[in-house]
């Protein structure tokens, strides 16, 4: 075990995988000479050279597609999209090609590639640079989408993503890079498609992923101290496939759920989770499933407006209290 940042965990894992397998190489804008916009790849160009740490032109569609083609011939490219906002320039290559090639050709070619990319707002980057559009990729059969919230998961899920034979969108978050946590020294990959119960409880199920999984843990701990509440926290970790069984068995135990996400409220990942709970635990619910998400606006630049648009800890606490109040009314027969 070592106590390191999320950023360090990503860096160390990339390096270890490049040492382990010479077919693993990195591509992206500014990842080499500039050492990465968020310095995840710092030092790797010097260690591995230009062949394996490739600075690309500003051509998301071109280099994402090139990574897919290279993967078809057996390499294991790890692409860095500077932020998830820019991945939309590569949407055709990711959705129409990476996700389709295995199925469309009857299983004759695999696409073992990873696209690492951070989402997240709160940095005053305005409307085009603050989005959380992992939903676009989670919607697509053939894609796998993972979203680690801790340094340990950053390592374990990145190991899994690189060793997987399918295209994996690996969602990072700007607000998580400097967070610290214990990371195991062994290189056991996580299993893509499994959520984790990061806190056990009986009063309510709080569901989140990426940054909002951390918010969920923080709120659950605070409410345990302040109100003696016993909240169970589910960290989704994998958005596609979604581990519905873990969600449902938790809700069957707690009879109430609040879903947290950093993206827009409607049509989102939270909507999918809520619909799944409706399908799998309708008779167990004592209150409607609540979603806490971003306001449905293009993200403004001005700080007070940005803060108002983003889901806060207080928003989460409010939704939990209201949900538990609804549970109280119903279980009391009011």
């Amino acid at each position: 075990m070592s106590l390191i940042t999320y950023r360090q965990a990503l860096h160390d894992t990339l390096r270890a995988e490049m040492l382990r397998d010479e077919n693993v190489f990195l591509m992206g804008e500014e990842i080499g000479v500039f050492e990465g916009s968020y310095k995840i790849t710092a030092g790797l160009l010097a260690e591995f050279g230009e062949k394996r740490v490739r600075d690309t032109p500003i051509a998301e569609e071109g280099f994402a597609g090139a990574a897919i083609g290279a993967a078809m011939l057996g390499l294991r490219p790890v692409v860095e999209m500077m932020t998830i906002n820019f991945s939309m320039l590569a949407l055709d290559q990711i959705v129409n090609h990476a996700a389709k090639i295995y199925g469309m050709f009857g299983g004759q070619a695999r696409v073992p590639m990873v696209i690492r990319t951070p989402g997240g707002g709160g940095q005053q980057l305005g409307a085009t640079h603050s989005q959380n559009i992992e939903l676009y990729y989670s919607f697509v059969p053939g894609m796998k989408v993972v979203a680690p919230s801790t340094p340990a998961d950053a390592k374990a899920l990145l190991l899994a993503a690189i060793r997987d034979d399918d295209p994996v969108l690996f969602l990072e978050n700007l607000a998580l890079y400097n967070t610290k946590g214990e990371v195991p020294d062994d290189d056991t990959p996580a299993e893509i498609g499994r959520a984790a119960i990061t806190r056990s409880g009986t009063d309510l199920t709080l569901i989140g992923y990426s940054r909002m999984a951390n918010v969920a843990s923080g709120v659950a701990a605070e409410l345990a101290d302040s109100d003696g509440l016993d909240i169970e926290v589910v960290d989704l970790r994998s958005l596609r496939p979604l581990d519905r069984d873990t969600i449902i068995s938790s809700v069957r135990k707690t009879h109430a759920a609040v879903v947290l996400e950093d993206d827009w409220l409607t049509y989102g990942i939270g909507a999918e989770v809520a619909a799944s709970i409706s399908d799998g635990a309708f008779d167990d619910l004592d209150a409607p499933v609540r979603r806490v998400a971003m306001a449905e606006v293009p993200m403004p630049y001005a700080k007070p407006l940005e803060t108002a648009a983003l889901p806060s800890k207080d928003d989460v606490v409010g939704a939990i209290r209201q949900t538990l109040a609804a549970v109280g009314r119903r279980t009391a027969g009011v």
Partner: protein, 358 residues
């Protein structure tokens, strides 16, 4: 005098080899022609679904380009691809079975007309999205370079594709990184119903190579030997790490796809296309040069007709894919919690209500 010259030519081994090669070109072009005509017929008989784009009029381009590739080189192409699949050496019956959507199809019935793939013949896909293959092909060339291999990638595209962003991005990356790839633009003059002049500010598409300091050339796509020679030069350049842009000027004999009556074309143009049908012109040239006579042409016709008939019979007899295989190809690495639900199936089976008899 001319006859004597021809007779002299025929006596030399080089001329004999050249004659054999030209006869093979003719036979291959005829195979594509008759195969495509049969595909069109099968489409009208509702044996083939979806979109169906034919190589009619482009036979010399297809045959010439494919003739220059080694079997170990790779091809990425677009959705107008049946001829390319045949020329890569894939059995015609497997190509036809794919059109019919059957299990013996080259993509097991998962791809159809636009998405043929055969890893053993190094056809790494027909792609249905205009230009989707360009970044992929560039990446395949990157992998070849990464592994220090000698293979080359050929990436064919239509004239309309020269207008998309991925064209620029891919050619730029290929040139920057010295990748072993030939971009071959099949300029048939029309992107669906839009002429090159109406879609490209520089309609001489090969000149785009200059923007990337990439060598480029334009070749007459009605003559397979010229195409093959130009492609050979392009491939040689690519094998040496200098990517190449080759424009093959050809004509599309019919509509964009089988269902397009091409009403945007004038009657005069349609007449001209019929009068200058490249297959007939090439056959007449070979006859005039003494390389083919009427008997030989009839023999080739018969041979090709048999191949196409056999392909159609095979396709019709091949089973439809079993619906039970629907979830077989979503993921290559098995994954827990993968949705395998058919339409109408719930995410979770309803639980019995407590105290309510089921």
């Amino acid at each position: 005098m001319a006859t004597q010259a021809r007779q002299r030519q025929r006596r030399t081994p080089a001329a004999a080899a050249s004659g054999e090669r030209l006869r093979q070109f003719y036979k291959d072009m005829l195979l594509i022609r008759r195969f495509e005509e049969r595909a069109a017929r099968a489409y009208t008989e509702a044996l083939v679904g979806g979109y169906c784009h034919l190589n009619l009029g482009e036979e010399a381009a297809v045959v010439g380009l494919m003739g220059a590739l080694k079997p170990t080189d790779y091809l990425f192409t677009n959705y107008r691809e049946h001829g390319y699949a045949l020329m890569r050496g894939i059995e015609p019956k497997k190509v036809m079975a794919e059109l019919y959507g059957r299990v013996d199809g080259v993509s097991k019935g998962w791809g159809g007309s636009m998405h043929m793939f055969d890893v053993t013949h190094r056809l790494l896909g027909g792609y249905g999205i205009v230009g989707g293959q360009l970044p992929l092909a560039t990446g395949a060339a990157l992998a070849i370079d990464y592994k220090n291999q000698e293979d080359v990638v050929m990436c064919t595209l239509g004239d309309g594709t020269a207008a998309i962003g991925a064209f620029h991005e891919s050619l730029n990356i290929a040139a920057l990184w010295h990748l072993p790839i030939v971009f071959a633009v099949i300029n048939n003059g029309l992107g669906m119903g839009t002429t090159v002049e109406r879609s490209a500010a520089e309609p001489e598409l090969y000149k785009r190579g200059a923007a990337y300091r990439m060598e480029s050339a334009r070749v007459d796509g009605s003559d397979p030997a010229s195409v093959c020679e130009a492609a050979g030069k392009a491939i040689e350049s690519a094998r040496g790490g200098k990517p190449y842009l080759l424009e093959v000027v050809t004509e599309r004999l019919r509509g964009h796809s089988v269902v397009d009556p091409a009403k945007y074309r004038s009657a005069e143009e349609t007449e001209r296309l019929k009068a200058h049908d490249i297959l007939r012109v090439f056959g007449e040239k070979l006859a005039a040069d003494g390389i083919l006579d009427d008997d030989a042409i009839a023999g080739i016709e018969k041979e090709v007709a048999d191949i196409v008939t056999e392909a159609a019979d095979f396709a019709a007899a091949s089973p439809h894919p079993d619906a039970g295989t629907l979830f077989d190809y979503t993921y290559a690495s098995p994954v827990p919690n993968d949705s395998r639900r058919l339409p109408g199936q719930p995410l979770f089976e309803p639980l019995p209500l407590p105290g309510v008899p089921t």
